[in-house]
């Protein structure tokens, strides 16, 4: 059976060159902290990867901390600048943190956790296209603000946030500014110096690298308290013998994604736009979520009225097509996607949402196959739905 993977925002397959780099790195077993030649070989691999990641961000190598994933990077910043015994004065002395309402759970729940430590956490709302409301954000910023953490691009809708404008709002106030760029890095050119960022999180497995490795950019002048205490690894900020193999894989993944960034953006954007136009043309009462704003080129979030997303997901799975949904029923929670609800969407539309995220391997044939299957699925499920029958009666 044909299989079509359209869930690249969840994770991506490992690029063959990344795999080769990792296999080569497996031969290097020295501990990067050791002074002998075995250790130096590992150290060189890691430092080369650090240089590559730094170059990809316009940062200095000593501003890159390797972590185990994007979630760890997010935790490290949010907890590390507010932890109370931190060397970071701003984070500890000021009482408020601002994040957006559409953050990834690894920011959302980490920030909410700070409430237990007496911090006030503001959730900045977004507009109907899923973009942070700058006027509200501005009104939330005060002399009490320790940290502003706003994601670069949203994982569910692809909506790109106005990070440059937010940087301007913050500028000159000595507020710590972090962005979770897990969905944007390697897809959108990012220069941390031009954007005046203090911290940026990224992850390997979203850019055809391995799972289990991420990085945090930390501006040289900013301080952070480690989550994992121990040895001197990663500038004393992340103890534990370095994961040489995965770090080498991350370095290769960054190199490849930066070199293909422009052409992939162009190619995937055209494919995505064609796909959306086809879906809208062939399937009545389908609506693209966040269509009016600039989005990551490979992300498409579409709601199908009168039916529920988990059943769409399973039905497409029978045709070998992999997607994800913002419906509550797939996550086991009561509420559908917090991102879609934050955009002011009614529950019904959010329950019927499907995210298609394209990637390197996606072809027009894949998408044509998907549109055919989708049309069948939506028709089948609507014919079972009492909501659809009611809407037909009303005409």
């Amino acid at each position: 059976m044909k299989r079509v993977y359209l869930d690249h925002n969840a994770t991506t397959p490992i690029h063959p060159e990344v795999k080769a780099a990792m296999i080569a790195a497996m031969e290097v077993y020295g501990n990067a902290s050791s002074h002998h030649s075995f250790g130096r070989e590992a150290h060189t691999l890691i430092e080369n990867a650090r240089k590559t990641v730094a170059e990809g961000l316009g940062a200095e190598p000593e501003e890159i901390i390797f972590t185990s994933c994007g979630s760890e990077s997010n935790n490290l910043v949010i907890k590390g600048v507010t932890c109370g015994n931190s060397i970071c004065k701003i984070g500890c002395e000021r009482s408020e943190v601002i994040i957006s309402a559409i953050e990834h759970p690894s920011v959302l729940n980490t920030a909410k956790c700070l409430r237990g430590e007496g911090k006030t956490v503001h959730l900045c709302p977004v507009d109907e296209d899923g973009v942070v409301k700058l006027d509200v954000l501005e009104s939330l910023i005060s002399e009490r603000t320790a940290l502003v953490s706003i994601m670069y691009a949203n994982n569910e809708t692809g909506a790109i946030q106005p990070i440059d404008k937010i940087a301007n709002l913050i500028s000159g106030r000595d507020i710590i500014f972090h962005t979770d760029a897990v969905q944007a890095f390697g897809k959108i050119p990012i220069n941390v110096k031009e954007l005046n960022l203090d911290f940026l999180s990224l992850s390997g497995h979203k850019i055809y690298g391995p799972k289990g490795v991420g990085a945090l950019y930390k501006r040289k002048t900013r301080k952070v308290c480690p989550l994992i205490h121990g040895g001197h690894h990663e500038f004393n900020l992340r103890a534990g013998t370095e994961n040489t193999v995965h770090i080498a894989g991350l370095g290769k993944a960054v190199e490849l994604s930066i070199s293909d960034m422009d052409s992939e953006w162009q190619r995937l954007g055209e494919l995505r736009n064609w796909f959306e136009a086809e879906v809208i043309r062939r399937i009545p009462e389908s609506v693209v979520n966040g269509e009016e704003t600039s989005r990551t080129a490979h992300t498409s979030n579409i709601s199908f009225r009168y039916i529920e997303g988990e059943s769409i997901l399973y039905d497409l799975d029978f045709d070998g097509i992999a997607v994800s949904t913002g419906s509550a029923c797939s996550s086991g929670s009561l509420e559908p996607s917090h991102v879609l609800l934050a955009m002011g969407m009614d529950h019904g539309r959010a329950h019927g949402s499907i995210r298609f995220s394209l990637g390197r391997s996606t072809t027009k044939e894949d998408l044509a196959y998907t549109v055919d299957a989708l049309e069948k699925t939506v028709t089948r499920l609507r014919n079972m739905s009492p909501l659809y029958r009611d809407s037909m009666r009303k005409g």
Binding site: Y306, E308, S311, D346, H351, S385, P386
Partner: protein, 190 residues
Amino acid sequence: MNQYSEILLDHFRNPRNVGELPDANGVGEVGNEACGDIMKLYIKVNDDGIIEDARFETFGCASAIASSSIATEMIIGKPVEEAIHLSNKAIADALGGMPKHKLHCSVLAVDALARAVADYRGEAVADSPDPVICHCMGVKKSTILDVIEHGIEDLDEIAERTEAMTGACGGERCRPVIERMVKDFFGDDK
């Protein structure tokens, strides 16, 4: 990981008895769009009190569709008096088991059936003597009352004994109701 059994997936992909039943003499609809599932069950009961035919229409996830489908199969040909005793557990078992956070779907099917039968009998549904309190796990009022009446007033212990408040919503919906039941029984004076 596949959270669903082969039987369940078969009922989802090839649902039995889908659609409107024009000559139904009992119709029950439960759920709402905001919660992500609506189930409408049609029954046609003959003069001998036998459910001759049943159909369903469902808006919801794969397990909601499968629950409705198998429920129609389980009641067709049965006397109403017997069908009304169909339990959500029987539905879940017939589907080869369901993940805990999906048991709610089997409860929905039982609720839809109860309403369809009430409609057939011309009864008001609100008068159901034993409503489901915990919709996630399908725990009825009588089950919870039984535990309370055995002197249990600790909510955690009630949860442990009845499985109420242990489903997908973590008791978000039924905890206040159960708290009220405890207070009503033991008095409000603490």
